[in-house]
């Protein structure tokens, strides 16, 4: 059972890596100036030493740092991510609460960009040098080069303010009390702008990658052979060129997939989307160590897990690829 032994070995290594990451994160975060108590004091506009002392005591920040680390690590091993200092609620609850919104956003953006990117890439490659190719490549270059926050704000001004077609912020219409299909439609409308904004950059990337890859493969010998055999052009593009050209795109998609759980800080912030990226960003500026460490921990656990899955899938899919020991 070499596969099982491989998986078991990788799991043990994974746990060690995770503990190492957690320890590093723990010290990294504390290297930043200030602590959650001083942020709360700064926001309150009033504080005395007693106020700060009470907060630090409540948060356990008055303990020696080694003690704090030990408590944190022993908690992590039992999968207890601790309490948010600021919100006084379990970190795991906060993360789980934000997870659906994040998955919806990143998932939609992922599907959107992958589908459109591949289609545009194929179209552009098929018409290389023609005007439609120029339109697609120029568009791709534009969205590749434009900062995300600018697109986000412009899309809000155009589609929410001028045209009034779409809502500009939030996850759903608050106070409307929609249920069932109406609710789904409402969320869908709120999703369009952030998902498109988030997806455009990767769409551009996939388009460029797909186009270049298609053109490269279109010149290879097996395509010429197929053409010489008299295979119809559409079939050549689908079966011979696109299928081979898609490999680098899939590699890139793996990168994007890695961000699915981590959320998208910028998009979630500009569109007021209640996802994990915002939770993490706000926790960072508020020095809510536990929340930040929790999000980091979950994200790194996902990366370790996905790497393992990828390796196993490789081995199952292609027996020529040996899994390393």
């Amino acid at each position: 059972m070499p596969l099982l032994r491989f998986i078991a070995g990788r799991l043990v290594k994974g746990v060690i890596v995770l503990i190492a990451i957690a320890t590093m994160n723990f010290f990294l975060i504390r290297a930043a100036p200030g602590d959650p108590a001083s942020v709360l004091a700064g926001e309150a506009g009033a504080a005395d030493e007693e106020f700060l002392r009470q907060l630090r005591q409540q948060f356990g920040l008055d303990q020696p740092i080694t003690t704090q680390l030990w408590i944190y690590l022993t908690d992590i091993i039992t999968l207890d991510l601790g309490f948010s200092y600021r919100q006084g609620r379990p970190v795991l609850d906060l993360i789980l609460e934000r997870l659906p919104a994040t998955l919806l956003l990143t998932g939609a953006a992922f599907i959107f960009s992958l589908t459109l990117g591949i289609i545009f890439g194929i179209l552009a490659a098929r018409r290389a040098g023609k005007w439609s190719d120029s339109v697609i490549t120029t568009g791709a270059l534009f969205f590749y080069a434009t900062p995300l926050f600018w697109i986000a704000l412009m899309s809000q001004i155009i589609f929410a303010l001028w045209l009034g077609w779409l809502p500009n912020t939030g996850f759903r219409t608050i106070g409307a009390g929609y249920t069932g299909l109406r609710y789904a439609l409402d969320v869908g409308l709120h999703l369009i702008l952030p998902a498109t904004t988030l997806g455009l950059f990767f769409t551009a990337l996939y388009t460029r990658m797909m186009r270049a890859s298609m053109l490269e493969i279109a010149g290879s010998d097996f395509v010429k052979t197929a053409r010489a055999k008299g295979v119809p052009e559409g079939r050549i593009v689908r079966r011979h060129i696109a299928r081979n050209a898609i490999l680098p795109v899939v590699t890139l998609a793996g990168l994007q997939a890695g961000q699915i759980v981590g959320g998208a800080v910028l998009t979630e912030t500009v569109f007021g989307w209640p996802g994990i990226g915002r939770l993490m960003f706000e926790a960072l500026s508020q020095r809510d160590y536990q929340v930040l460490l929790g999000v980091f921990f979950v994200s790194s656990a996902m990366v370790v897990l996905f790497n393992l899955i990828t390796d196993v899938v490789y081995r199952v899919a292609d027996p020529r690829i040996e899994v390393g020991r």
């Binding site: 930043a32 100036p33 200030g34 602590d35 001083s38 942020v39 709360l40 004091a41 700064g42 926001e43 309150a44 506009g45 009033a46 504080a47 005395d48 030493e49 007693e50 106020f51 700060l52 009470q54 409540q58 600021r86 919100q87 006084g88 609620r89 906060l94 609460e97 934000r98 704000l153 809000q156 001004i157 929410a160 303010l161 009034g164 809502p167 500009n168 912020t169 939030g170 996850f171 608050i174 106070g175 912030t269 500009v270 569109f271 007021g272 209640p274 996802g275 915002r278 939770l279 706000e282 500026s285 508020q286 020095r287």
Partner: protein, 528 residues
């Protein structure tokens, strides 16, 4: 002891009687329509607060939301005259030592329990004394006893006369907390902190983390017919530009003060059915300054600080950086509160005078570090304008950026040279002004203490004496303190700030008190 009502208290009591008799006189000078019931209001608040438990947290957004859930003994009209709230009337003994509050009867907590004098004594004497950073010093230093003298009567006895105490009974300083929920528990970890129970016009319904807080009308509120509005949503939209767009598209009805970048206000104000007000901050009177670490180098030199004061064009900052909002500040005491003096030296913009003073001073060309206040784009622009003013007269300045945590940390450990800051004044110099200048408040760890390190024994003595002096002696003492401070410049006062609230004009009687941005929904109604 003979108890006598002061004139001010008498007038308020008369008003209280009018109100309790059901004769609700709504702004007689304004012959508008009768208030209408119903409607939903959505407000943008930023940032998302840590908690709504107003006794434990006093963050701006906490006060804005929880100021309608909790109530205190008094409210204040915009010239800071006390008005009844949970206290129906009050009497002050003629030696100004004994304050007797008569509480409103028939008030219910949101969970249905009756409100009594026990709740008030518990809040003021036990809960807030332990946890509230502003009430604690007042109660520990000034108050001899807080006693229940009847089911609906509380008597507060002072050690010596302390006039400012009458301004301490606003909801942010002394929110009344339900004794039946908190007595004997660990206040900071009490589970009820996440579902606050108050006596106010609005009840807590739900907090959807990252999105909004939902409040609804308190059906059992003790004022007949009020509140008028059914539902209120406080929404958290992290990006300032998106908040402005959400207001323009109608998603949001109110951009609360501080939630809109000031340079967006004139553009929004020009639109139909949009009203802008700077009211509702009178008790806080946010006072901004350039904080100077006076411990060492040229910054320790009074002449150099005066040079900087002449070099900075505060009119320009007000008109351009702050889009015309605010008043140029000439004194440590805001002109919007009590005891402000007009009879003080004014530092008008004068770069030539500044250059002369720089030459006279001990400044020898070193680069000063300016820590940019991390409270939004406007502060960054202001820091840039200030640097240019200072460089015009030959003072080298380097801007350094940080985030809120870093800024608090550096001020609290005195690790800065120059930075902007603004503090609330709380109506009386003894509550909100002296804390920035007295030597006894040079303490580490608190960015709102005397972080400048300024110490002057005469100023300390004047502030101490003025706090407990009889009313008639206080103006002269504060005049002298202001004269010294304006000459020595422990900080460079910049602007008495306005944080405009942008709202739809359909909202009527929206901001009616000196803390109106916080206790909005008792009186507000929607024109339908």
């Amino acid at each position: 002891m003979i108890q006598k009502k002061t004139g001010r208290a008498l007038a308020s009591t008369a008003l209280a009687l009018l109100l309790s008799a059901g004769v609700v006189a709504m702004q007689p000078q304004d012959a508008k329509a009768e208030p209408q019931r119903g409607g939903t209001v959505q407000l943008a608040v930023t940032p998302e607060p840590p908690s709504l438990m107003l006794g434990l947290f006093q963050n701006g957004p906490t006060q804005m939301i929880a100021g309608d859930i909790y109530e205190s003994l008094l409210r204040y009209d915009t010239d800071l005259t006390p008005q009844p709230s949970l206290a129906e009337s009050w009497e002050i003994s003629d030696d100004q030592l004994v304050y007797t509050f008569t509480l409103r009867e028939g008030v219910l907590w949101h969970d249905g329990e009756p409100f009594t004098a026990d709740d008030v004594v518990f809040s003021l004497d036990v809960f807030l004394r332990e946890v509230h950073p502003r009430w604690r010093p007042t109660v520990n230093a000034q108050v001899a006893s807080i006693e229940k003298t009847g089911d609906y009567e509380v008597t507060i006895t002072l050690n010596e006369p302390f006039e400012p105490i009458m301004l301490s009974f606003e909801v942010g300083t002394t929110p009344i907390i339900p004794k039946h929920i908190y007595e004997g528990t660990d206040y900071r970890t009490n589970e009820m902190n996440s579902t606050p129970i108050g006596t106010g016009p609005m009840k807590f319904v739900e907090w959807d983390s990252g999105s909004y807080v939902h409040l609804e009308r308190n059906e059992d509120y003790y004022l007949e017919g009020r509140p008028y509005i059914d539902e209120v949503y406080y929404r958290f939209i992290p990006d300032a530009a998106s908040r402005a767009v959400a207001f323009e598209t109608g998603t949001i009805d109110v951009l609360t003060g501080g939630s809109v970048e000031i340079f967006d206000v004139p553009r929004l104000e020009a639109q139909d059915n949009v009203c802008v007000t700077t009211a509702g901050w009178e008790l806080f009177a946010p006072h901004s300054w350039l904080a100077v670490n006076v411990r060492e180098g040229a910054l320790a030199d009074k002449t150099f600080r005066q040079a900087m004061m002449y070099a900075i064009d505060r009119e320009f900052a007000r008109d351009v950086v702050w889009s015309g909002f605010g008043t140029v500040a000439n004194s440590p005491i805001s002109s919007r509160t009590l005891f402000h003096s007009e009879d003080l030296h004014e530092y008008t913009y004068d770069p030539d005078r500044a250059r002369e003073l720089v030459a006279e001073s001990s400044y020898d060309g070193e680069t000063l570090e300016f820590l940019v206040m991390p409270y939004g784009e406007t502060w960054t622009r202001w820091a840039e304008a200030t640097r240019q003013n200072l460089e015009d007269v030959g003072i080298n300045v380097n801007l350094v950026t940080t985030d809120v945590a870093g800024w608090s940390e550096r001020l609290g450990t005195f690790n800065f040279q120059l930075t902007h800051n603004f503090l609330y004044q709380y109506g009386d110099p003894a509550l909100g002004v002296s804390r920035s200048y007295v030597a006894s408040n040079i303490v580490e760890g608190n960015p709102f203490a005397n972080v400048m390190g300024y110490a002057n024994e005469e100023v300390d003595a004047l502030f101490a004496e003025a706090a407990n002096a009889p009313s008639e002696d206080r103006p002269a003492l504060y005049q002298r303190a202001q004269e010294i401070l304006v000459d020595e410049l422990p900080v460079l006062w910049m602007i008495e700030m306005d944080f405009p609230t942008v709202y739809r004009c359909d909202l009527q009687d929206f901001i009616t008190t000196a803390i109106g941005v916080n206790d909005t929904f008792r009186d507000a109604w929607l024109q339908q």
